[in-house]
């Protein structure tokens, strides 16, 4: 419960409460139309349904690449979660046709699982590199990217990618 507290609530952001307003229309910023507002929340709920699956297949792909196999002990350690939890989630991944394995053996990705892992990995990389290009420290960028990646649309991803590229050129 200690290291996660850099998303500090209390005492954070109390120094500059007004310069949040670079344009004039922020005060009493009207609510969006009800149905559009509902779609925003629906998109978030939607992302939540797949986000854990994405992290799992991404991690499994990484383990397969870097250690040759993906054992559930390693997943449990890296996820910071019990082995029982991993076992149950893997059952779900299998039932969704993303992962295959024989009991008590290493995990593998199906075609579908590899496709999802590739997508997730790419998206994760784009977000992480963008944050670093912005000037965020590596440690923080990794933490933020792990959560943000699931909520970044295609449109935003492309813009992030362009920014990172141009920022790289500026450095060179």
């Amino acid at each position: 419960m200690l290291p996660y507290e850099h998303f500090g609530y209390i005492g954070a952001m109390t120094d500059s409460p007004n310069d949040v307003t670079p344009d004039r229309l922020c005060k009493a910023d009207a609510l969006p139309p009800s149905d559009q507002h509902a779609q925003q929340y629906a998109a978030v709920r939607n992302a939540h349904e797949t986000e854990l699956l994405e992290d799992y297949v991404e991690l499994i792909a990484d383990l397969l690449e870097h250690q040759g196999e993906a054992r559930s002990t390693d997943i449990a350690a890296r996820m910071g979660v019990s082995q029982a939890t991993v076992s149950k989630t893997v059952t779900r991944l299998k039932s969704l046709g993303l992962v295959s394995s024989k009991p008590y053996r290493s995990l593998f990705l199906t075609e579908k699982g590899e496709a999802m892992a590739a997508m997730s990995h790419q998206r994760h990389a784009i977000v992480l590199q963008f944050l670093r290009a912005l000037g965020v420290s590596d440690r923080t960028a990794r933490i933020d990217a792990e959560g943000m990646e699931h909520h970044v649309s295609q449109e935003t991803l492309e813009i992030m990618q362009r920014y990172t590229r141009e920022q790289g050129r500026r450095d060179a």
Copy 2:
């Protein structure tokens, strides 16, 4: 199930698979140390615990400000969720000391609830304005901000704020 699919998986990002690598060290990008990796995921799980609460208090504050009262019908409509769901979540908000209300009456925020709403609102605004400053369309920026906001650390928030400010100055 239609409008949320701009986080498209299939067919998305297949055009430029290689330019994700502005620096050379991306191929076989080593895994972080196990404990640090676990902390990343823990931070995300942590954010998930409060994110709905934050959205609720933020919405309640907005409704109080813009319509004078916060009825659970309105919350249900704006969240795109049933009234029963709102009722149950509100019970939880009350038990956490964030919201107060008498049965069958409008909702109000406690001191604690207002503090959380103010924080959440400010953070939400920073993320939204940052995305717009980056060049993301309003519609997409609103959707992405709704999810991203809960996963942006203090450090990143400050950098976003600076970027937005400077971007505004460049426009003027």
